[in-house]
Subunit: 432 residues, 2 copies
Amino acid sequence: MVATAATASLFPISSSQPESVAKNSGKHGGGGQNTVDMHGIKPKSRGLQVKTNAQAPTKVNGTRIGVMDGLKSDDNPTSTAPRTFINQLPDWSMLLAAITTIFLAAEKQWMMLDWKTKRPDMLSDLDPFNFGRIVEDGFVFRQNFSIRSYEIGADRTASVETLMNHLQETALNHVKHVGLLGDGFGSTPEMCKKNLFWVVTKMQVLVDRYPTWGDMVQVDTWVAASGKNGMRRDWMIRDCKTGDILTRASSNWVMMNKVTRRLSKIPDEVRAEIVQYFVDTPPIVDDDNNIKLPKFDDKTANHVRNGLTPKWSDLDVNQHVNNVKYVGWILEASFFFLFNDLKWKSAPQTIVEKYELASMTLEYRRECMKDSVLQSLTSLLGNDQNALGDSHVDCQHLLRLEGGGGGEIVKGRTKWRPKNANRNKGIEDESG
Amino acid sequence: MVATAATASLFPISSSQPESVAKNSGKHGGGGQNTVDMHGIKPKSRGLQVKTNAQAPTKVNGTRIGVMDGLKSDDNPTSTAPRTFINQLPDWSMLLAAITTIFLAAEKQWMMLDWKTKRPDMLSDLDPFNFGRIVEDGFVFRQNFSIRSYEIGADRTASVETLMNHLQETALNHVKHVGLLGDGFGSTPEMCKKNLFWVVTKMQVLVDRYPTWGDMVQVDTWVAASGKNGMRRDWMIRDCKTGDILTRASSNWVMMNKVTRRLSKIPDEVRAEIVQYFVDTPPIVDDDNNIKLPKFDDKTANHVRNGLTPKWSDLDVNQHVNNVKYVGWILEASFFFLFNDLKWKSAPQTIVEKYELASMTLEYRRECMKDSVLQSLTSLLGNDQNALGDSHVDCQHLLRLEGGGGGEIVKGRTKWRPKNANRNKGIEDESG
């Protein structure tokens, strides 16, 4: 039930495979295919409707207006009694219409309520303050975000860092909404007592389409067990207007001691707090550990950059570099490599207009502190450099401590595609 | 009526003075003094209430529930007819109470409406979707922001970059709400026709207190003429809970041609679009150009950093480095200089816990593009380096193109203070 923006781990993690991730993601379908099975969460054609199969932990049908089965209260997070008082109202839609008539004066508010009455399938998603709410029998947290002007790049679309920021925010708000937010950055009360906080060991993100400035997106998140001492957190981002799936992400987390900075087993008291929120579904992005990445170092890598230093603003409340910040370094290295070194059929000025990140897997191996000096390695993975053209490109990445020892901070892989390529066909087609 | 996140200018700008800015700001009072005059916008003791004097462009009394004098519609931005239909309702507060009883099921929503009914002075500020709305006779745009987990630093408070992002967002939404948003980043329809966009020439920010994670802040913004061919945009940020003023900011803008990258006069057609929204009040932060900063270069500066390069993610839709991004460079240089070179009575690890930026003035002189390589200069201003102790420190900053010519990109000054120092006394005391 908990997850934070913390980073790093000394956990032994085997490599996973971008091809298989992409392939599997295709099974779940892309933005334009709203009928595919997504490990138990099956989107329907009317956007925000979500329906589950027998395996799924959740149960929501957007067309049943006002029904919020099993919605849990912040005051009593363990309660499983459904709150159905809305169902007792004689005519919810008429009441809403009346409210729509009198409630607000300002134009935008009128527009918004009007929009909601026109889309009855969205009524169960009412969350006017965008604080988020628990849905799907209490196992899924859902929050909307409006893409702001400062969250977009030169091409007007949100960056993957923006999306990952929203993932972090929903994870923390999920913990908060079930009443488990202690003093820490997602730590539960029992974790705080024991000086523990969450660190991410792995993050997989598949982006089918990037939202643009002004778009409203809906982020769903849920948690599951991951081995004996880990937790998995998954997310799904949808376009609120079309219902298209924009992004799927899956992550793994373990606990670290704030003082010793060593990993910890999950104490029984903490397990008792969180286990009730675990769902029993496979990850929304398959974790395939069978194929190893080729080894590479600063002598064999295609591109090496030295002397990277974290800024003060890169640190989070756990006093280390926030996991999202690594993405900026890796993206910048990718752009530099792909388009400066390889000159991927594009003048540098138009790079961000033409190409985009399709998917990314990051494995966090060690904390990065303020005084760390890093080396960033990038190489093409598999592809023939001379045959780049407009095809897709896989890269591998390594951020490690500079000089002596070469302690690995983050290992990662990225997959790049020309923009608009197969955008509506899902990622499966793109990796095929 | 318009402003964007664009940067840079070749405009001749005279230097301004941090001391006088801070002094003047004191006139407006700090967060703890809610009775001070703020150039015509006089806050009262009940937080979000705003009242104006004879000079002010606005007129709102939060205690008169439901009265929104002169609220303008997006559909008809030039209309001056007040929209008073809410006043015709027999009993707004009773209706609202009824709505509060039936409207929403989720816990957060209940809490929020309940909070609003308990604070009748805030009823005129209803904006449940946080899209923002026009207030104060149509001249002020107001939007709320919840401080998110990814907008804070290691000390849990929002960074000044976060605050400036919110300033940018409200500026753009202001333009949007009055129906003047063309295709560009804050450009009006007539500006788009003429290939013009806004660039900022000066930004002054005074921070009395930084909000923390989970706080809700209210940002007010308005525009005024600035010389013959410029526009001024001011902002005020308040804590929604306490009503305290957290931040005041004032900025100046001119127009640039997208193709020639040269500055332009304001064409008559554009002036006709925007002039109706100009208020006739002095800046919320006084602009004092009388005192010049001492000249300094890489030989005389206390601290020099070479080889700064913009990242792809630093660019905005105007294809140059966004004005907020400079702040990151300047803050990082300040931290490095003040706490690594000067060792301001603090171990580096606790710097961000102990010190904070009190105010900042940036003068943007030239665009910075993706391929620019910058040099960052920092020096103490006035203070005796040996007498730093816990006192306040003024710095001057220069970002310029590296090597040959040394074209100036941004000149700036910052004022730093120990955290919690005079926090509730306003900035006047701190600069005294």
